[in-house]
Subunit: 219 residues, 2 copies
DNA sequence: ACCTGAACACCGTTCAAGT
DNA sequence: ACCTGAACACCGTTCAAGT
């Protein structure tokens, strides 16, 4: 009679876990089933391990979130920024920031409200702000550019994937909002490239700050 | 000997709960201790009731969130929009949208990712989009204005209260980001009125779309 | 050092029992 | 109709026991 294999106890000969593969598995779960599906149990199961094992490698949920952030941020272009003027730097940074999060829209909701606490993300901000600093931007305005850009990029990336769910045409109709319903349907019909919309907003955004600087310079 | 009062069982002579006071208590908890503190237990305790009682009045968490949304949205100006042109409508709507959420920054993170399912919110969108519709805006572009405006308003309102927490100058310093740290410190020193920053962004935003329309009209 | 099962204090939600 | 305690299946996290 075959006896069911007993679960091995104690330390395995080769470690199954690492910060790296934990972060990757976490991001996979977020991408596939949303942030709410990322429980310690689900994460452990995907890694063929029990939940308590995770605590030998990460400190808890907050730590886990910042590992996921570092993974996404690593896809953002920062090296070339040092050799560009502020307009080009803003465009390059904005586009790659947008693309990085467009690939992981489900991560946005949790990352946008968790305090930043990982080196990769600080270095990303530093690279972009240094470009503005070299161009002589004041602190207030430089941070406004950064924050405004983040809102547009994160908003557009989230919107591209989740707008159908947040604002549904049929529910709009049912709640006495025919104009909204008409607009929502017209958009989904045209089915435009979502990236085009962001490129458009990014252009407007840069032009807006450029014209302000030109006015200030000529006065 | 005084005997401890036994807890009353069964239906009380006058009902303790209603959708209204549940929603208000929920918003109070969110304002005071953040969204994560809004558990059914905490909510019930504040209303002098046990958690299961809530389910006689609300269907669950999703329902509760939309009740809170309706409460906040009720503070947004919509009546005057019908008599304004699109620029003024955008300014009035944007400002009151911003102010409504500035008063409840902790609600933003959950509301911005929960599908909209309450009449008050649909009616708010309808009022604003009707103003753009009357001005002849195309569906794509009108939704871009709405969505862009929401990001700027929600972002600024959240930022005004939580930016210290999200991006901390000392942590920036510790992670090798001196330019970011310098900018963050310069801003907190100047301590400008947060509303001024949003007014500035809102002006820029409207001008951005206006110049685009003017170009399109003259071609 | 690193994985495990057992245990703890919590969750949201259901439901029969009470008035 | 509406509030209650008990119960259910989950959470994240801690910790002693194993190798």
């Amino acid at each position: 009679m075959a006896v069911s294999q007993p679960v091995k106890r104690g330390r395995p000969s080769t470690a199954k876990l690492s910060e790296q593969n934990i972060a990757e598995a976490a991001l996979d779960i977020i991408d596939e089933r949303g942030w709410s599906a990322l429980t310690m149990n689900a994460l452990a199961t995907r890694l063929n391990v029990r939940a308590p094992s995770l605590y030998h490698h990460i400190e808890g949920q907050h730590d886990l979130i910042n590992l996921v952030r570092a993974l996404i941020v690593s896809e953002i272009e920062t090296e070339s920024l040092a050799s560009l003027d502020w307009e080009e730097a803003t465009r390059v940074f904005g586009m790659s920031y947008y693309r990085a999060f467009l690939a992981h829209p489900n991560a946005i909701q949790i990352l946008s409200v968790t305090p930043i606490d990982d080196r990769a993300t600080f270095q990303m901000y530093e690279a972009f702000l240094s470009a503005l600093d070299r161009a002589g931007w004041a602190a207030e305005r430089a941070l406004e550019v950064l924050v405004g850009l983040e809102y547009l990029a994160l908003g557009s990336a989230y919107e591209a994937n989740a707008s159908e769910m947040m604002l549904n045409a049929q529910r709009a109709e049912d709640n006495g909002a025919p104009v909204l319903a008409k607009f929502l349907r017209a958009r989904s019909d045209s089915d435009s490239l979502v990236e085009e919309v962001f490129v458009h907003l990014l252009d407007d955004f840069i032009r807006m700050f450029k014209s302000e600087r030109d006015r200030a310079a000529s006065s």
